[in-house]
């Protein structure tokens, strides 16, 4: 039995296999396939930067060209993760600088990236092409200047939602005149005034520029020039603010938009003056994605705009759209796949717009391809949720946020258990779910029995007892990420389902009732988990063991406890349960 499949042939076959899970399966077939696969893997996705160390990743995959890393837990978006918690990109980038001189792409999410890290990227990777920093922080425009000055082959620079220390807008001028390879630029989060002359020249000399997303500080009168230099744009993000309304500016803008015949995605429109909206009408029919979540456009104008976007697949909008606007959406946009409705006044106590559950019910009825929903509203009912579930069994992402906590069904005053139960029961492919409103343990019973494909679940102010958590941990077979805040879940369910935690990426629990003792026990019994206790009020040893911890983050890892924890984070390791309190 000396026959063996030629390596080169297998490598060639594998080059067609992109998906990580398929590649992982390939590597499990036998030792030689494992070896061949690891040498030809070019892309790596690390969902939790502390689950594995750079050294281990490099040792296994010696020839990577593209790496994605995620740092902080999702609840960092809502200020629940203390500053300086971690998620530093530098150690990874420094290790890559030595191991992967040919690295081309880095995609970082919720990580802390320093200017030194950016400098390493700029100087050590000769063929660097793509830098995406989504919701990152820790760097300044000086770091960006180094990237601009050195990365000759940069195709994509994306700073969505990152916090940038805006030292100066001059960094754009650091792209040399000979640099023409820009294809995608997203600098929406920069607030400083950039040098528009530099931007115009940059846009003018990059013929492959497809995505241009600018900060709101770009004034309206400069936009037509930019658009005329880049009629090949597919995606545009721009503020549209202007101090005065000029009639000739209007026609210039209308002309410039009409010239962008390939424009498919539009966002921004901060400060747009409603009278300028008709300049967009000619391109509406070509739009597949429209993000108006920063635009203060009111209902009538919204309806006029949206009704012309018959090919719209994705709409992000503020609740100014109201139920009437959503009815119009349901009638006009039959190709809609994703809807997100954000609150214009999240902290107001009274509703400021007429947006209710009815809008969502309409869209669920009228848009057969709708599979992804994020909806902020102020009231909901079980019957509406059941209707939505029956209308749209193809939902894969359903995130509902009823703004006031503990809100029951507004018609029957009962908990919303049955409504969400209908969602998980009918939507058999549901992957992501966020709950809100008044909820008892019953909803978790439904989720545990029906949510077999559920991968990510977000809970807040819900449930009665440990039974709720137990239903979820024991029933949701595909669960990867569970994030919980302010729920009465304690030790029992967590300890009873400890093994489950090794099958998940991570568990976050804050303001719950998990005791310090349980954390120590878990850390002791589960060496392949990092059980991190966050205690900003003082060392948990200074309170009795029965006291609940403030915040708890548990994740599986092959690299043991991390070494960069701040003073308020403790890892429960195998020795912690032995120490007396």
């Amino acid at each position: 039995m000396g026959y063996s499949f030629p390596e080169e042939v297998l490598e060639h076959v594998l080059s067609f296999i992109d998906s990580d899970s398929d590649r992982n399966s390939v590597s499990l077939v036998c030792k030689s396939w494992h070896d061949i696969e690891r040498w030809c893997r070019r892309r790596l996705f690390v969902g939790n930067c502390y689950a594995v160390s750079p050294a281990i990743a490099i040792r296994r995959f010696p020839e990577l060209r593209s790496v994605s890393l995620k740092g902080k837990p999702h609840f960092a978006d809502f200020n629940l993760v203390p500053h300086e918690w971690g998620g530093y990109a530098y150690p990874w980038i420094a290790a890559f600088a030595k191991a992967y001189p040919w690295l081309e792409e880095l995609r970082l999410k919720r990580m802390v990236v320093s200017d030194e890290a950016l400098e390493l990227i700029a100087k050590k990777f000769k063929n660097f092409r793509v830098l995406v920093m989504y919701s990152c922080e820790g760097f300044s425009t000086d770091g960006l200047a180094t990237i601009a000055a050195n990365c000759r082959n940069l195709k994509e620079l994306d700073l969505s939602e990152s916090e940038v220390d805006d030292v100066s807008g001059n960094w754009l001028s650091q792209f040399p005149d000979s640099y023409t390879s820009l294809e995608s630029l997203n600098i929406t989060s920069l607030s400083s005034e950039i040098r528009f002359s530099a931007l115009e020249r940059l846009v003018g000399r990059c013929p492959n520029l497809k995505t241009l997303k600018l900060s709101h500080s770009v004034p309206l009168d400069l936009l037509p020039n930019l658009l005329q230099k880049a009629p090949q744009l597919v995606e545009l993000g721009s503020g549209l603010h202007t101090k005065e309304v000029h009639p000739d500016l209007y026609s210039k803008l209308a002309g410039a938009f009409s010239g962008c015949k390939g424009l498919k995605r539009l966002c921004g429109l901060q400060d747009v003056v409603p009278s300028y909206l008709p300049t967009l009408y000619p391109i509406c029919v070509g739009l597949t994605s429209l993000n108006l979540s920063d635009a203060p456009i009111q209902c009538p104008e919204l309806i006029k705009l949206v009704s012309q976007c018959q090919n719209l697949q994705r709409l992000w909008v503020l609740d100014y759209i109201e139920d009437t606007g959503l009815n119009a959406l349901a009638e006009s946009c039959k190709d809609l796949r994703e809807l997100r409705v954000f609150p214009s006044d999240p902290f107001g106590q009274e509703p400021n717009v007429s947006l209710t559950e009815q809008g969502l019910v309409s869209v669920s009825a009228g848009c057969p391809k709708l599979h992804s929903v994020l909806y902020f509203c102020r009231r909901m009912s079980n019957v509406a949720l059941s209707t939505i579930a029956r209308n749209r069994p193809n939902l894969t992402h359903f995130r509902l946020c009823i703004i006031e906590r503990f809100r029951p069904d507004y018609i029957t005053l009962e908990p919303l258990d049955v409504g969400f139960g209908a969602i998980v029961e009918h939507c058999k492919d549901l992957k992501r779910l966020s709950l809100s409103g008044l909820l008892t343990d019953r909803v978790f019973e439904y989720i545990g029995s029906h949510g077999k494909k559920l991968e990510m679940l977000s809970l807040a102010f819900a449930g009665d007892s440990d039974l709720g958590l137990h239903h979820v941990l024991s029933g949701c077979k595909s669960l990867r990420k569970l994030e919980i805040r302010d729920c009465p879940f304690g030790d029992k369910a967590l300890l009873a389902n400890a093994a489950k935690l090794e099958t998940m990426r991570s568990l976050w629990m804050s303001a719950c009732q998990v005791s310090y003792r349980a954390c120590k026990l878990l850390g002791q019994k589960m060496p392949r988990l990092n059980v991190e206790v966050i205690a900003e009020q003082g060392h948990p040893d200074s309170s009795p063991d029965e006291y609940p911890v403030e915040k708890l983050y548990i994740y599986r890892t092959v690299s043991g406890p991390r070494s960069d924890m701040p003073s308020f984070v403790w890892t429960m390791d195998k020795n912690s349960a032995l120490s007396s309190s």
């Binding site: 629940l80 920063d294 009111q298 954000f342 999240p346 503990f406 007892s465 302010d486």
Partner: protein, 186 residues
């Protein structure tokens, strides 16, 4: 483990439950029969802060609008990026607002304005003029406000009454606690 543990929901487990918050506060307001909580009543919080902090939301001293509920950290789950950038815009949203009381000598009641809505002194003074139907004079560094009987003043963090307009706008809005439109010469 084979079977889920059975919990008897009839027991009053609440009495023995650990919770964050003062004893006697109930973080859950679920009642099956009673009416929906009135929005105007301040809600007891299961606050994100320490267990020893009292419910800061209950305030009866303010005779204006019903007391605002204390904001819970991270709720509703709106990205702080989105929250901040939207509050910076004038738009329709109030956001968290920076409301200060405005009194005018001789007026029967006080008003409240949101300082965050304005970007400069002229804008603020225009708004005050409209609100109280009067005219403010011209500001000069040397002489204060010339040309009318009215002078805008504000109480700063130290409790001192200062003339509006002396310090940069950003400094003003971060230190202004209340406004007063003084009439006549002092």
């Amino acid at each position: 483990m084979e079977k889920p543990v059975v919990y008897d929901n009839g027991l009053n487990l609440e009495a023995t439950e650990l919770r964050l918050g003062l004893p006697g506060t109930n973080e859950h307001e679920k009642q099956s029969s009673t009416s929906v909580r009135s929005k105007k009543r301040a809600s007891p919080e299961m606050a994100e802060e320490t267990r020893s902090k009292s419910s800061s939301c209950i305030s009866d001293a303010d005779d204006d609008a019903p007391p605002p509920k204390a904001q819970v950290v991270g709720w509703p789950p709106v990205r702080s990026y989105r929250k901040n950038s939207f509050q910076q815009r004038k738009g329709e949203a109030e956001g968290a607002g920076m409301y200060v009381k405005v009194s005018m000598d001789g007026a029967p009641y006080l008003r409240k304005i949101d300082l965050k809505v304005y970007k400069s002194y002229p804008e603020l003074l225009n708004a005050l003029e409209n609100m109280f139907k009067f005219r403010i004079g011209e500001y000069s560094e040397r002489e204060g406000y010339n040309g009318s009987d009215y002078t805008p003043a504000y109480e700063d963090k130290d409790g001192d009454w200062m003339l509006v307009g002396d310090v940069p706008w950003e400094m003003f809005i971060s230190s202004c606690k209340r406004l007063r439109i003084m009439k006549g010469s002092e």
